[in-house]
C-alpha cells in the first residue's frame, strides 16, 4: 500500500519553508497515517531536499497531518534557482511513500 491509497495532500510555501498537509480519505485510516508518516520518514524520502528542520502537526478533527519543512526551498521562491521555485510538486512526490498496515 502507498500513501496515495489512503490519503490526499496539498503543498504550500512560505519563504523558504515548504508545507505539506496530508488528509486521510477515511477516518479509520488516521491512526495508520499518524503511525506511518513520521517526520523522520519524510526527511528520508526527500533525500535531495536541504531540510533544516521539520515539524509535524496533528489535526485529528479533520484527519490531517501538517508538515513544515524549513529550508526546503533554498532561499524561497523569490531567490531560488529551482525550476519549481514554490516547491508545488513536492507533496505529490510523497504519494508513493510505502504504508505498512501491520
Amino acid at each position: 500500500m502507498i500513501l496515495r491509497d489512503i490519503a490526499h495532500l496539498r503543498t504550500g510555501d512560505k519563504g523558504d519553508i515548504s508545507q505539506i498537509a496530508i488528509f486521510v480519505h477515511a477516518a479509520e485510516d488516521y491512526e495508520l497515517l499518524v503511525r506511518c508518516v513520521t517526520a523522520e520518514r519524510i526527511v528520508a524520502h526527500f533525500a535531495d531536499l536541504p531540510i533544516r528542520a521539520i515539524r509535524r502537526y496533528e489535526l485529528p478533527g479533520i484527519g490531517a497531518l501538517n508538515f513544515v519543512l524549513e529550508g526546503a526551498l533554498r532561499g524561497g521562491v523569490t531567490r531560488s534557482l529551482a525550476l519549481d521555485a514554490h516547491g508545488k510538486t513536492l507533496g505529490a512526490q510523497l504519494l508513493d511513500l510505502v504504508i505498512d498496515p501491520f
Binding site: 508545507q19 488528509f23 489535526l59
Partner: protein, 447 residues
C-alpha cells in the same frame, strides 16, 4: 439558515487570475461583497520597481480589466468590492477606478484607498532584525525597493463605514479582505477574538478563490473534478457567530467538498494553532466541515487569541541577476547527451571566468523537480537540459544562456529548442514592526 447572513465572494486568488468567474459571481451569485486577492509575497516589490520607472503605475496590471468587467454589474446589484490590487500605489489605483467608473457612466461610485502599509521610510531609517534569517534590514538597505506592513482589517472597516463602494488597499493580510466586510457588517468588536478567528478561517478558505472549488485538487482517477475549464469561484454565507456555508454559482465548473475545504484550510499554514494575522491569532484546530448538499459545505469551529503587538513587514530588495538556458535531447542516449551538455556549459563558464554563483544544472524529465534522489526505472525518451545561475551583473547572467545556445553547434549532437533568459532578482525578506508605528488612513474619490 436562520438569522442574517453576509454573502461574500472571492473574485481572484492571485494577480493573474481569470476574470470570468468574478463576473459570474457578481451576476449570478447574489453577493453582498466581492473580494479580489491579488498580492503574492513579492508582488508589491515588483509593483514598486515598476512605479519607479513610471510613477503612474505600481498597482495590479489587471486592475482596469477587472474593474471594467465587474463594475457595471456590481453597481446595479449593490455589490461592494474589496481588493488589494492597489499594490504599491493604492491611491493611483483608486483614481484609475474613478476614471473607469466615469467612463462607464457609473456616476457617484465611491472609491476608497486604504493607505499606511508603506513603511519603507521607517525601515530605511532604522535597523530591524530580519526574522527569516540572520542579519538586519541594514544589510539589504542598498538594494531595498519596498517595505510594506501587513495591515489588518481596520482600514477596510473604516472605508466601508465611510460608504465606500470599492475599497482598494495595498498590503493587508489576505484574510483581512474578507474579515473587513464581516466586522463592518456584523459590528464585531475588534477584540472579539473568537469571532475574528472564525472570520479569519472563512477568509483563509476563500482567499485563493478557485483553490477551494476544485482548483489545485484534480488527480485523474483518484480525485476527479468536473468542468475545470469553467472553474467557478466560491462564496460564503457567513452568520453573525462566524460560522458559514460555502457555495458556488450553480452551473459553474469545479466542485466544493469537505476534501477541497480541508486542503485549503491548511494551505500555507504552519502551526494550525497559531495563524498569525494583524487582527487576531487564529486557531484552526477545532474547525469542522460538513457537506450539506452538492457544492455546499458548512464550516464550523475555529477560535482566536489576542492579536500580536507587531506587524509583519515584507521587504523587497534587488539581489543580482539569474541567467538561465535550456536545450532538449531525444531518443536513445538522450540522458547521456544531456549530461554532457550540462558538463560543457559548466566548464565553459569556468574557462571564460564568468562570475557565476549557485550554479544549478539538471535534466528536466530526470532530476529537475524530483527531490527523492531515486532513479527512474526506464530511461526517458526525451530530456531537457537546464542551467540556472546567479550573477552580480546582467551581462554575466546573459553568458549562462548564451553558453547553452552555443551547444547547438558546439555541443552534443541533436540538441534542439534552446532558449536563454535573464531576470533581475527581487528578493523578499521579512521583519516585524511595532504596530504603533503604523497608522492606516483612508482616502476617498467619487466618480
Amino acid at each position: 439558515m436562520t438569522g442574517r447572513t453576509i454573502r461574500i465572494g472571492a473574485g481572484a486568488g492571485f494577480s493573474g487570475d481569470r476574470i470570468e468567474p468574478a463576473l459570474e459571481l457578481v451576476e449570478h451569485g447574489a453577493l453582498d461583497y466581492l473580494a479580489f486577492e491579488c498580492l503574492a509575497e513579492r508582488t508589491i516589490a515588483l509593483a514598486q520597481a515598476a512605479r519607479r520607472v513610471d510613477p503612474a503605475v505600481g498597482f495590479d496590471p489587471l486592475l482596469e480589466s477587472r474593474m471594467r468587467a465587474v463594475l457595471p454589474a456590481a453597481r446595479s446589484r449593490g455589490v461592494k468590492i474589496v481588493t488589494n490590487m492597489g499594490a504599491a500605489n493604492p491611491l493611483g489605483a483608486a483614481r484609475l477606478v474613478t476614471r473607469i467608473a466615469r467612463a462607464l457612466g457609473l456616476h457617484g461610485v465611491r472609491i476608497a484607498a486604504v493607505l499606511g502599509d508603506d513603511v519603507l521610510d521607517i525601515v530605511r531609517s532604522d535597523r530591524f532584525p530580519l526574522v527569516d534569517r540572520a542579519g538586519t534590514s541594514r544589510d539589504i538597505e542598498p538594494g531595498m525597493v519596498s517595505a510594506n506592513a501587513y495591515l489588518g482589517a481596520e482600514g477596510i472597516v473604516a472605508a466601508l463605514a465611510g460608504q465606500a463602494d470599492v475599497v482598494i488597499t495595498g498590503r493587508v493580510g489576505d484574510p483581512a479582505l474578507f474579515l473587513g466586510p464581516l466586522i463592518h457588517g456584523f459590528g464585531w468588536a475588534m477584540d472579539d477574538w473568537d469571532r475574528l478567528g472564525r472570520g479569519t478561517v472563512v477568509g483563509h478558505l476563500l482567499e485563493c478563490a478557485g483553490q477551494v472549488t476544485g482548483g489545485y485538487f484534480a488527480d485523474p482517477g483518484v480525485k476527479d473534478v468536473p468542468g475545470l475549464a469553467r472553474l467557478g469561484f466560491p462564496f460564503a454565507d457567513v452568520r453573525e457567530d462566524g460560522t458559514a456555508v460555502l457555495g458556488k454559482v450553480a452551473g459553474s465548473g469545479g466542485c466544493l467538498s469537505v476534501a477541497t475545504c480541508k486542503e485549503q484550510l491548511l494551505y500555507e499554514i504552519l502551526d494550525p494553532a497559531a495563524y498569525l494575522q494583524a487582527d487576531v491569532v487564529a486557531d484552526f484546530r477545532t474547525v469542522a466541515f460538513e457537506q450539506l448538499g452538492a457544492d455546499r459545505v458548512a464550516v464550523r469551529g475555529g477560535t482566536g487569541r489576542a492579536r500580536p503587538d507587531t506587524l509583519k513587514v515584507s521587504i523587497g530588495y534587488e539581489d543580482g541577476f539569474v541567467g538561465e538556458g535550456q536545450i532538449s535531447y531525444a531518443g536513445p542516449g538522450a540522458v547521456a547527451r544531456g549530461r554532457l551538455a550540462l558538463a560543457i556549459v559548466e566548464e565553459r563558464l569556468r574557462l571564460t571566468g564568468v562570475p557565476v554563483t549557485d550554479l544549478r544544472t539538471e535534466l528536466i524529465g530526470v532530476d529537475s523537480i524530483d527531490r527523492t534522489g531515486r532513479q527512474a526505472g526506464t530511461e526517458p525518451r526525451e530530456v531537457r537540459a537546464r542551467v540556472a545561475g546567479r550573477a552580480p551583473t546582467r551581462a554575466a547572467a546573459e553568458r549562462i544562456g548564451a553558453e547553452v545556445e552555443a551547444l547547438y553547434t558546439n555541443g552534443p549532437f541533436g540538441g534542439g529548442g534552446a532558449v536563454a533568459a535573464v531576470r533581475d532578482v527581487l528578493a523578499v525578506a521579512s521583519t516585524l514592526i511595532d504596530r504603533t508605528r503604523v497608522s492606516p488612513s483612508v482616502h476617498y474619490e467619487v466618480a
